[in-house]
Every structure is written in C-alpha cells, then in structure tokens.
Amino acid sequence: MKKALAFSAFLAVASMALAADVKEVKVPIKQYKLKNGLTIILSEDHTAPTYSIAVSYNVGSRDEKRGRTGFAHLFEHMMFQGSENAARGEHSALISANGGSLNGTTNEDRTLYFETLPANQIDLGLFLESDRMRALAVTQFNLDNQRNAVQEERRLRVDNQPYGKTFEAVNETAYDNFGYKHSVVGSMEDLNAASLQDVQDFFKRYYAPNNAVVAIVGDFKSDELMAKVKKYFEEIPSQPPPPQPDMAEPEQKAERRKTLEDAFAQLPRIDIAYKIGPGNTPDFYALRVMSQILGSGQSSRLYQRLVKEQEMATGANAFAAEQRGPGLEQFSVMARPGKDLAAIEKTLYEEIAKIQSEPVTDEELEKVRMQARRSQVSGAQSTLNRAATLADDFVDFGDANILNERYQKMMAVTKQDVMRVAKKYLTENNRTVIITLPKKTAPAGPAGPGQ
C-alpha cells in the first residue's frame, strides 16, 4: 500500500516537466531598440495572466543644476498630473479600475515609473506610458499643486524626522562634486524657484525616447507585444542626447568631520562614510561582501562587538551604496544613552583595522553568499521587481542582464578581495565623520516652511 502510493506519486511528478535546475534564477531577456532610440526589454513569464511595465528615464538628481535641486523628483510628481489623452487623475483611476497598481520613484541616478495590470490590459499600460512620454500636460496649476506636495514630503521625511538632516549632511560633506552632494528631495528655496518653463525644458530634454528604457515582464508573446510597442511609442520624436554630468570626484586629502544638533533625535549617532567607486564593479561587490560581514544583521561583527559585548550601542550597520557614479561605504552606529561616541568610533576603527589585516572566515563568507542568494531570489520575485530591475540596470550600467549575474559576481569575491578593498578605501584621509547629537531643548513642533 505504502510503496504503491509513493510510486504513483513519483510518476505524476516526473511528468511535471521541470527540466531546468529548480534552484537557479534565469530571467529570459529580449532587447530591442526602436527607430527613435527607445530601448525595449521584454521578459515573458506565463505563470499568471498579469504583467508589469517599468519605464526608467536616464535622469536623476545628479543631473540637477545649482539653484534647481529637487527638480527631478518634482518632475516625477508632474508625470501623474495628466497628459494629452489622460486627464488629471485619470491615469491612476484607469489602473485601479482594472485591479492594477502603480507608482513612481526618483533617486540620484534615474527616475522610474511602473504599473502592474492584468494581461488583457496590456494596451492600457502602453497607452498611458506612451501618452505621458509624448505629451505631458504641463500647467501652472499642476506645478504649484505638486510643488506643495513635494514640500510636504520634504517636511515629513527630512525636516520633521529624527536624523533626517544627518543623511543630507553625509553626502553634502563627503562629496565635492555637486551631482551627489545635494539631496534628491532638494531645498525649499530651489523648489520655490522652479518655473513652468523649467518643467517644459526638462521634459523635452530628458523625457525623450532615446533617454529612456521600457521593460515589460509577464504574460504576453514578445512578437505580438513588440508590434504594439511600436504602434504606441515609435512615433514619439527623439531629441538631441542630453548632456551627461561629469561625476568625477577629486581625491580627498584629509578626514572631514562635522557635528549636528537634532531636535528630534533621542540618542547620539555617528555616521562614517568612505568614498568608493561606482557600482557593478569587482571592487564594489567585494565592498558589499565586506559590509555584510561587518554590519548586516545580528550576527555581524559590529553588532556582536558594539551592541552585544560592549553594550555601547543600540544598533550598528555597514552598507555599500550602489551608484552609477562614485558611491559611499557607510557605517552608522546609534549610541546607548550615556555612552561615549569617541569610544564607539575607536572600536569601529579597530574592527576596520582587523578586516584590513586578517582574512574573513569561511563561515562568514558562506553566510554572505547565502544572503546574496536570498536577495537575488527576492529581487526577482514579482514581475514588478523584475521589470524595475531590468530597466534600472540598463539605465545605470547599460546591461539588463545583471539581474541574472549579480549573484555570481558576489560569489566570485574572495577573502583576498575583501582585504584588498578594505585597505584601498577605508583610509583616514578618505573618510567623513558626521556626529549627530540630541538637541537639549525640546522641539517646538514641526519645522516651518523654508524661505
């Protein structure tokens, strides 16, 4: 009885046709370029009758000029305010009325828009994305309205948050080049200065098809979909290629140090940033491995030493930010009440000296590889994640296939690589130290608007 059962089970499973290794992530990618220069990346997945579309524009806060900080993000808001054939509010209403979801996001390097919809509504996503790429409705009313929304967002996320100013101070102090020196959300003054003409110029210069990539992942046939993509997008005129910012950072000659007082902060905090190179390079992956061993999770070295053993801190992190241009290796430690930040800083440098001089252990390396595997899998989990990653990697690094390769690149990092990058980048002259101290007086309430 028991044997018969097991045998029939085996037969049934054998017919389930899973030829490939079930443990591998292999996202199929087809890449095209339309006559107007628009890059299209398609990845079929017939698991469910849904799809996601992501449109990444090669423009972020790094492209902003002095006096116009926050503009790329403000512009992202404008993209939801209507276009020639979709009235204000209609874009979101149409997506929601079909059961879908949507959003947009801006960072230093790019601006991304995305939707998930049922597969029978493939035309709707193409229609809406092509309509706003072709003919955005730019009005003074929309601009004023969204300027207010963005300023509220700044108050909420930066001005009215503990350590909100710390994040800005790290970049402002560490970078010399204006591209990464200023924040994505920008300053109140600059947001106030943005004019309707600025919006129109920005749209024409940066939101051209030759400066964008469209990635679509889900339940469609690529050939049929390409015919539709051409119908919706190919007639949108291309523009002269926008100027690309020079992101070069001059070599730093000495440590930089700054102390802030924060009315919302309850605990002292120290942030240390080292300038590193761009993302998707062997050095970057080695730094990422190093960061995880030092400061990712409760089994990491910094957590074990500062939080568990010495009981000096409530939390300790290390992170290598992946940027198109020069990134930062960042450490942050939140002190326990009454604990000395100088002692914490000293311990941090001891741990850095140790990772520069002694190889990490096999167990540590194994754990990082496991984490890399998990994040590769979770990064590819939904059609939306995949579409966004394909589009972003293409804009940032010119290669959509990184999604399939990132894990192997992490796996290739050796113990020697970790020591080498630790020695190369984590030097005294290359570091910026930001100390944030709780302000003695109680906060008087939310910060007021800027001038």
Partner: protein, 459 residues
Amino acid sequence: MRSRFALRLTAAAAIASCLAFAQEKQKPPQGPAPKPFSLPASQNLTLKNGVKVTLTPYGNIPKVSMRIVIRAGNGNEGPKQVWLADFMGDLLKEGTTNRTSAQIAEEAASMGGGVNVSASSDEITVGGDVLSDYASGIVKLLADVVEHPLLPASELERIRSNRLRTLAIQRTTPGGLANEAYAKAIYGDHPYGRYFPTEEMLKSYTIEDVRNFYQANIGAARSHIYIAGRFDASLAKDVTAAFEAWNKGPAPVEDVPKLTAKASFTLIDRPGAAQSTIRFGLPVPPPTSADYIPLEVTNSLLGGSFASRITSNIREQKGYTYSPASSVVTEYHAAEWHEGADVTTAVTGPSMTEIVKEIDRLRKDPPGADELQGIKNYMAGIFVIQNSSRTGVIAQLRFVDLQGLPADWLRNYVPNVLKVTPQDVQRIAESYLDPAKMALVVVGDKARIEEQLKPFASR
C-alpha cells in the same frame, strides 16, 4: 484569532476624486476580455493516515511556500475557551521532542525563512517560505513542529501575558468593540459569535488545557499540506516520509451555524468619540451557493470597491468618512455581508440614511450595464493580480478545499464574474440584502448619536 473583518478589496484607495475629461481626446484602449485564471496541474496525494497533499509547481523563481492547514480553529473552542487555539498555536513553535525553540528559529532562518503559526475560525495554519534549495528541509521542520510539539509549560506565562496585552489593546479600539458585538449579533451562541475572550478566561488556561486542545483537534485526518513554487520531483517522497507516521487523530467537526437574518440594534457608548464605528449587515448565502459569485459582484458594486455606490456617496460626495467598505466574509459553509465605516459623529444618522438609501436603490433597479462592466473588470483584474503569487495560489486552493467547491471553481471564477447581469445584481440585492433584516452595531458617543440613530434602532 479571528480576522474576518479584513478588507478584501483595497487596491483603489489612491484614485483622484474628480476627473475633468478634455474634449476630443483619444479613448483609452478597452482590451479584450480577461483570461481565465489557470493553474499548472497540481499533484494531489492522500497519505494512508488521511493527510492530504497538494503540490503545485508554480512560477520561475526558486522559492517554495508550504502551508499545513489543519481543519480546527477558534470554531472548535468551548464557550469558556476563546483564543485557546491561539495559545496552542503560539506554543507549537516553542520546541519539539527533537528541537529546542531556538533550534526551530535558527533552522528556519538558515533556510531563508521563518515558521509562522496562526489560528482562524476554521483553520490553524503552520507555514514557511524558503529557497528551493531547502524545500525538503522545511518539510521536515514543519512536520516536526506539528507532529511532535512539546507544548512546554515554561513558555505559557509569557504567551499568556502577550495575549492579555493584545486583548487589552484590541478592546480599547472602537473597531474591536464593534466587531465583537457584530459577531455576536450574527452568529449568536455559535463559536463564530465569540470574538474576544474575557480576561478571566485567558488567566485560567493551563498547559493541560492547551495539550488537551492539541489532542482533541490536531492530527493527520484534519490536515492538508499545500506546497507551491519550484521544487524537485522527489519532494513528494519527502512529504510522504515526513507525515505518513503521524497519528490519524480525530475527523473534522461539522458545525455549520444555522443563521436567520434578524434586525437588531446595539449601541456601545464611547463618550467623547469623534467618530462612530458602524457595522451593518446580515447572513448571506455561503460560497457553495450558486448565488455566491453574483453576490460578490453585487458587493463590489454596492460598497466593496472604491468606485462603489456607498463609497462614492458617503466618501466622495458627502465626505462623511474616509474608509467605508462593504465585504462578504466567509466561514465554513457560512457567510455574512456587512458595510463597515467610521463616520464623523455629527453625521452618524445621515450616514446610515445614505447607506440604506443605496441598498434600497439597488434592490429596486438594476445597475447600468457600463457601471456593472467597470466593476466586473475591476474584480477580474484584482482576482488575477492577487493570485499571481505562490501564497495567493495556496490561498485560493485552500479556500476551494475548505468549502468543498468543485475543482474547476477557480478556473471558472473570472468567466462567472463576467456572466453576471444587471438583473442578477438587482435580484441578489433584493433577495439577500434587506436592510429591515440587518444587524446594526454602532460604537460612539451615545449622548450625541442616540437620537440620530432612532429611525434605525427599530426597523
């Protein structure tokens, strides 16, 4: 713990309210009819001790989700045992005859996941989501958790104080108080009618009570294992090996409540409340009824979606409330429909007037074809998008199995939604949604709302 008041349809919360359409613009493309929801063939097994197994190869991503669904829950508790199922669930993770509590947590973490246990009215769920590399590992771990738990006395006090805290917090929320009174009004003395325990009950539970609940309710004959994702063909053998030695245990209890729709009114005083929390509804046909899918469509059109009539009325036009929603909430072979809303105190009566007005309007006249088509597109879209994940697929499969629905129910869901006519909607509203037979629960400032609610106190 019951969570039957969760909203199923929430995706539309971000729609802008006014649409000023320009002239001569291109119409957005309509798109063909939605595709039916089709699943890759599952492999179904029944082990000799009665454990049912459903293995569903799904997706391209190397992860596996596993859920052991045990046909026992709060519905199996006695009148003085409310939340005992939750106590038992909390204790399942606290060690087995083979693993300590810490080992369970570490082993799950090393596979890239965790062990989750939850109890609802009809089911206790033990689950985990891991990388495909560890598919057989999670099978072994979860099998150990359900088959050989220690249910250690040492952890009981910690769990008790957590549950006491949860109860105290929930009982201070107007939503919790409203849900408790509404469950009582609909389900009466049936276990589904017992939403909260008393503090005394929670303080009285002994480790013997917990172990007795396990013995009386947990076993192979009540268990159905669902695994979805990417896994090797050999996993069926691992599942069989891990579960075939489990005690058969008791058969599932059939305890379907006999429900009659009957008007009632409960006003719970919350002096100084800025809002009144409303629950207004009645028992409706269960998922096994031929009218169930038309009822879901009717609900979406009446109050269950952002574009629905009640929401457009009391949120968009009148501004009485931010988050009104109606829903059909199911138990085993039972269901109820209700409108729920937190409305500004001063307009508690007018809100009820508008809610009743919208229900009556739909009971009298069929909706327009365009209005209904929009709702059907929305439902078809939400259905495929919500179910396009491993966990979404398992949720649907277990719903079909719990309710004993036909095997093609999921495949036919979208076509059946699309088949619903305006006349069907009117007939459903008229047959099943009679305001004169609904239970009304309001939690609010009695001094300010009692007079407003007079017309609804006696219907």
